[in-house]
Every structure is written in structure tokens, then in C-alpha cells.
Subunit: 314 residues, 2 copies
């Protein structure tokens, strides 16, 4: 019997990654193209279609052999209707029926989802949640901002208005610093890459410009201030994680995104906060793990989500 | 056809309330007895059994006509096995098979649940969530402490270790004041009745002892300091509510418990924080409402939960 195959399409503000994924969550072929978001979703769908054909050809297969496609896109998604309602990273894409546009080209079921949600699904299915067969998971994605995804009862939880999982805007300081969202005291304003760079600059107060990666590298080389900033970042994340334990008590909380590479500094402070603040039973039993799929979580998660849609609707 | 009847048993640290509830969520008969928690759950079950017979007699009915009983108890409950694992309010009840003890006396399906969870279920079924047919709800119970319940997809969400819904211990100030749970900066340490009294005493600094109810009464009579304390309490709650919107984006967030009587002061500040901090779509569409069932939410919710168990297992 031929292997079941799924397409995973991970649309980002800059790049769109495309892969063919098997039923076990392994990528068989993948490539990346520029998103050129000003072209609109129809043109992107045209270009993705061509890439998908190439990928299938590379495998001596055809698009007809692929069961379904999952599409992850940033922003607020109307999942039921497959529409990108609004996306800060794809500003021209307003109320865009993206699932339908891809379906017309690819001629298969196309499931549109929020990018953080599919990344969470990928980690649950084939990454950090796999070995413990997690049924509930919250993923926190650390990058320029902080995103997240919530999985409950083996299903992505969207909430009433498709805006659940905005972990980055959980308030951890009532009168805290201003956040990009317009609010203040959000965990994103303390623990995102942007916030790490800002907090280091404020503390060093030497007029030098610096990125979060620079702060990490300094810390790795023994710079005490940089190490403190990274450790404090872990403590802020630890507080957010304890809050998730108190509200949802999920099987697993997964930390992913580019800044999760700073694990050496983040993890000990996260665990310290959990020990100090969490309920004993939740603190001991909830797994707090780092993501395993790296940049592939979007492709794998989108494909896995398409597979799940197909299975649960069968 | 005879009306469907359910028993709702709401076990508190001091009093145990018992009621017969119909399929529409109305209490037909109810009474209250002392819990005498040192006697242990078996003795309480004996006394509840007698009261239940009396209630049924009052209705010219018998226990045989009652379909199932729901039991709400404070503490950590192993819902699957019907066991009270541990309860700060019922200190002798450790690993107590309460569902089985009640089942032996009442001779009907007995579903044991956490008391805050059944109160939430009651509000969803027959109170604040009824008119909008809410499928997801978070209830915040304001009393001496702050409790909560989470309902997702028409089901109580327990989490991995039956400790989900601990809304009171959501941290809103990283380095905030010490909380009874051992942590610090929890919303309970700012917005519970205990915290309201403490914050007023600290602000007045006149050596007078005062309760949260006194603070409310002073505020209602125009005392500006008391009014400010109450308004700030609403702001702390507003922050917790915005966090729930960001993480879960539920259909409705319900505020109950004794201190919700201070609605006049709490509600405007809650709404101000939502306007300032929530995502527009969630802030506008998520209903934030006050509980409607008052002290009956435990009886009605326990009975309704038993009804739900019966229906979903049929």
C-alpha cells in the first residue's frame, strides 16, 4: 500500500515553506520561496502550486497522490471558512478566502489555520508531545514577538473569535512596560527577542545597539549582565508557564521559536519559578519541554493538521 | 410523563446544601445541614441520605424517582474515580471515595466534582450562560479566596491533574505580595475579600479592623478611599479577565461568589481594563457577566452536572 502523503504549507511574512510529509510526520521533500505578500494570495497560490508539482515530481509522485494540504498563515484566521481575516504580516490580505484559492489550484482539501496553531499541532503530533501522546498542550513561540497555540482534547482550541492562544499578551505586571499590542505589562514586553534586546540596552546604558542574539552570545561568553538578562527572561517565562498550569493544567507546555535556542539560560530560571509558584502536583507532572521540530514545525504541523481534518471528518 | 429530577449536593467546609432540581434547572425543594467535616464523609453521606428522603417526601415523591445525584466538594477531586484527594476545607477527607459512599446510600449514579466546577456548570446551564447557550465559559468565584471553573466544548475542563481553573493563582505581578498559596503576585492576593480588607487597612493605616463587606458599605456611603479600593479591585479582576480572553477567548466569563455583590464598583473598572488591554474582537464579543444563581449555583450545578453525565453516557 502506498504511503499516505500530505502537503504542509507554512506562509510567513517573508518566506513560504512547502513540504510533502508522510503519515508519521516526516518531511520527504521541502523547499522555500519568497512570499511577496503584496502580490496577494492568488499569486502566491499560483507559485506554491508550481512548487508543489516540482516537489511531487522529485518524489516520482504526483499531486493526485496527496491526500490533503494544510496551510498555516499568520494573523486572525476564520478557520471554519478558510479566510485570512487580518494579518499584521500580510497587510494586503484582508478577508482573503485563502483555503478556496489554494483548493482551486491544488484540487484537494485545503485546511487553513493560524501559523502558531499549526506549529503547536506539529509539536504535539510529531515533536515534543509525541513520546507522551499529549492530548492537551500549550505552545509558546519565542521570537520577535511571543505567540502561542492551545490544544485541548486532541483539537486546536480557537476560542469564540479565533483569537485564543495569544500567550504573549498575558499580563504579568499590572502597571508594566508598554507592549506593541497597545496594552502594557504583557509577557511579550519582557521575554520576546525585542524585549531582551531592550532590557539589555536599558541595563547596559552604553548607547550600543544590540540584538537578542548578541545578548545570548555575550551571556554564553560569560558576560554577567547578559547572563542576568537571559536568566530574568526565563523567570518571566516561568511566570507565564505557571499561569498556564493554573488555568489549564495541560499535559505539556512546549517552548519553541528562534529564541528557544537560548535554552541553557532560560530553562533553569523557568524551573525555579515553577518550583516556587506552581501547585505541587501540576509543577511535578506537567511536562515543560523545548520544541523539537525547529523551523519545520510549520510544515509538519500544517500537513498533520490536514491529516487530522481528514481523519476526524471521515 | 413525570418530570426528570436530579439531586444536587453542595458540600462546603461549614454547610452542606441539598436540593432536588428539575431538568430545566429549577430547584423544587432544598435544605441545608452542617457539614461537621470531622465526622468523615461516610457520616455526612448518612445524614444527607436522610435529608434527601425528607426532600423527596415533601414533594410526595421518592428517591427512586430521581435519576442521578451530583456532588460538589471543595479541594482536589479525582473526578474519574469519584475521590476527594485532598481538601483544605475538609482536612480529614484524604483520598476519600465520596462518590461510592453516596452511591451506597442513595442507590443512584453519584457524580463527584469540584465545587467551583459545578458552580460554573450551573451558571452555564441555568444561569448567566443560559441565554447565549454558551459552550465555553470561565467562571471566577470571588470570596475569601478566588476560585474558578473552566468549561470548554460543553464539558468541564479538569486538566491533567484535576487542578485546572485555579484562576485565583494567576500571577498578575511578578514580584507582587505574598499569597496564601505560597506564591506571590496572584490575583487572589489583590482581589479576594481577604485582600480587599488588607489593602484598605494598609491604605487607611488607622489600626482599625475591617472586613471586605465593611469596605463595600463604606464605599456605598461615599467614602472615597473605600471606593478607590473597590475600583482598584475591579481593575485587578479586569487584568485577570483580559488574560483569560487572551489565552482561551471563551464565549463568556462569569463573575460570581459573595464579593460579586460589589458589582456597582467592580464592573466599571473591569470594563475599563478590557477596553484598554483586550484584543478588540475578544473585548467586544466575549460576554463578561455577573453570576445569576447566587448561593444556589452549587446545588443547581451539581444536579445539572449529574444530568449531563447521564445524557452524555447514554
Amino acid at each position: 500500500m502506498a504511503e499516505e502523503l500530505f502537503l504542509g504549507i507554512d506562509i510567513g511574512g517573508t518566506d513560504t515553506k512547502i513540504g510533502i510529509v508522510n503519515g508519521a510526520g516526516s518531511i520527504l521533500e521541502k523547499r522555500s520561496i519568497k512570499t511577496e505578500s503584496k502580490d496577494g494570495p492568488g499569486q502566491l497560490a499560483d507559485r506554491v502550486y508550481i512548487e508543489c508539482q516540482t516537489l511531487a515530481n522529485c518524489m516520482k509522485s504526483s499531486l493526485n497522490d496527496i491526500k490533503a494540504a494544510g496551510i498555516g498563515a499568520p494573523g486572525v484566521i476564520d478557520v471554519k471558512n478558510g479566510v485570512v481575516i487580518f494579518s499584521p504580516n500580510l497587510q494586503e490580505w484582508k478577508n482573503a478566502p485563502v483555503a478556496e484559492m489554494f483548493n482551486k489550484r491544488l484540487n484537494m482539501i485545503c485546511a487553513l489555520e493560524n501559523d502558531a496553531n499549526v506549529a503547536a499541532w506539529g509539536e504535539k503530533w510529531a515533536g515534543a508531545g509525541k513520546s507522551i501522546a499529549a492530548k492537551s498542550m500549550v505552545m509558546i513561540t519565542l521570537g520577535t514577538g511571543i505567540g502561542g497555540g492551545v490544544i485541548i482534547n486532541d483539537d486546536i482550541w480557537h476560542g469564540r473569535d479565533n483569537v485564543a492562544g495569544e500567550i504573549g499578551h498575558m499580563i504579568i505586571e499590572v502597571n508594566g512596560v508598554k507592549c506593541g499590542c497597545g496594552g502594557f505589562g504583557c509577557v511579550e514586553a519582557y521575554a520576546s527577542a525585542t524585549a531582551v534586546a531592550r532590557r539589555f540596552k536599558e541595563a547596559a546604558n552604553d548607547g550600543m545597539d544590540i540584538t537578542a542574539e548578541d545578548v545570548y552570545n555575550k551571556a554564553a561568553k560569560g558576560d554577567e549582565l547578559a547572563a542576568k538578562i537571559m536568566r530574568d527572561t526565563g523567570a518571566y517565562l516561568g511566570v507565564a508557564i505557571v499561569n498556564i498550569m493554573h488555568i489549564l493544567n495541560p499535559d505539556v507546555i512546549t517552548i519553541g521559536g528562534g529564541m528557544s535556542a537560548a535554552r541553557t539560560f532560560l530553562e533553569p530560571s523557568i524551573l525555579t519559578e515553577i518550583n516556587k509558584r506552581a501547585y505541587k502536583v501540576a509543577g511535578e507532572r506537567t511536562k515543560v519541554v523545548f520544541a523539537e521540530l525547529g523551523n519545520d514545525s510549520g510544515i509538519i504541523g500544517a500537513a498533520g493538521w490536514a491529516r487530522n481534518i481528514l481523519e476526524t471528518s471521515a
